[in-house]
């Protein structure tokens, strides 16, 4: 299967998040194709809410930057890993920047999903989501923060017609649990 890792660490280097993300390819086996995106090294502009991707060039963003490669990888993956340190109680703004741009992959039309308004699919199928969080950068981060983040990504998954399958915390999780989880995906 194809796995896309979006690493939203603004200070990538020798840390838990880097260790875990680098572990995924070697641990999940040769059958998996891994697409790894270190967002700190990429040009990703903010979504400006211009709706070009919804009503001028359907499915294509107005910005021509490094995001196109991510869109292509994400929509053709089975699993997308949102990897980030927890700062100010949420995933990084660096990760949120590409996340906001992902609306290019869904359709403007609204339909009822579980009795709620949500956007229709643009593509036939969508990848599932996983969260990989490093909670060590700020000592204020607590269990409720993780709960809040998890709930918001579950909501995001509804809009992306998929499920949030895994939440991994780098400082409490054993690396070997990740390939185990993925193999049961």
């Amino acid at each position: 299967m194809q796995i896309t890792i979006l690493n939203g660490d603004p200070n990538p280097g020798e840390n838990d998040l880097a260790r875990f993300t680098s572990f995924i390819p070697e641990a999940t086996g040769a059958n998996n194709e891994i697409r790894y995106f270190p967002l700190a090294d990429m040009q990703i502009k903010h979504c400006t809410g211009c709706w070009t991707c919804w009503w001028k060039t359907p499915g294509l963003c107005i910005w021509k930057d490094d995001a196109d490669a991510i869109f292509e990888a994400v929509i053709n993956s089975d699993l997308v890993v949102f990897a980030s340190p927890v700062t100010a109680g949420f995933t990084s703004s660096l990760l949120k920047r590409i996340q906001d741009r992902l609306i290019v992959l869904i359709h403007p039309y609204i339909e009822l999903v579980q009795g709620e308004c949500h956007h229709r699919k643009r593509y036939d199928s969508y990848p599932d989501f996983a969260l990989l969080l490093n909670t060590t950068p700020e000592e204020e981060t607590d269990a409720e923060d993780i709960e809040i983040i998890t709930d918001i990504y579950k909501r995001l998954a509804i809009n992306f017609h998929c499920k949030l399958r895994h939440v991994w915390i780098t400082d409490t999780q054993k690396q070997k649990e990740i390939p185990h989880d993925i193999s049961y995906h």
Binding site: L105, P108, E144, R155
Partner: protein, 222 residues
């Protein structure tokens, strides 16, 4: 007491957040002409720094933003990452207005929970979060469709000028029910057959000559 309203919309001066803010301010100024209200925008390089300055100098701050992928836009999160924790003896008041295109409140209550926790994390006094859905398209709606919305924002501004906080009654009116009722869901499905719920999108797709390409899948694997 100084009040600041920080606009976190990536659309900046063209935002629906700005329109709602203006109606809030009309109400506010009708009750309080003495107090200056600082307005700042996150969009733009210098504006971001200016917003940080305005935040630190104000005793009350309202941050207004559109819901982006079920949460605050990336630039609002970036702003949050730069906000200093409370150090003064008197706690700053921090309130939020979250607006979105979705009609129901359910989409915004998750970020509301985050905003409350975030305010506590910094040690500020949480004024609450005003949630308003169905906002996308207000710039092209006929006046009859936005009259009530704008009147409610003016009333909220009046209340805020007099009390220094959000009115729970007006907040509830703006927020509306969490989900559509069963009857509304049936109504929505019937309206869906006529294409009415997507009229706004179709209209704009046609205006830009993109209607035939509306279902394009440019990133699908061959």
């Amino acid at each position: 007491m100084t009040l600041a309203i920080i606009n976190g919309s990536p659309r900046g001066q063209q935002s629906n957040s700005k329109i709602l803010t203006e109606h809030f301010l009309t109400g506010y100024r009708s009750q309080n002409t003495l107090r200056n209200v600082e307005i700042a925008y996150l969009k733009g390089k210098d504006q971001f720094q200016e917003s940080l300055k305005v935040f630190s100098q104000s005793e009350q701050v309202i941050i207004i933003f559109p819901l982006y992928t079920d949460c605050m836009p990336a630039m609002v999160k970036e702003f949050f990452e730069h906000l200093p924790p409370n150090t003064g003896e008197k706690k700053k008041d921090l309130g939020f207005i979250v607006q979105s295109g979705f009609p129901e409140a359910i989409h915004s209550v998750y970020v509301e929970r985050y905003l409350k926790k975030f305010t506590q994390r910094l040690g500020y006094n949480y004024l609450g979060t005003v949630i308003k859905g169905g906002v996308e398209g207000i710039q092209v709606m006929p006046a009859s469709m936005t009259r009530k919305l704008f009147a409610n924002f003016r009333s909220m501004g009046e209340y805020f000028a007099l009390n220094g906080s959000f009115s729970e009654t007006i907040k509830a009116k703006l927020q509306g029910p969490l989900r559509m009722s069963k009857a509304q869901q049936v109504g929505f499905k019937i309206a869906g057959l006529t294409g009415l719920p997507n009229f706004y999108w179709n209209n704009n797709l046609k205006k830009h000559g993109a209607y035939q390409r509306r279902n394009d899948k440019p990133f699908a694997a061959e």
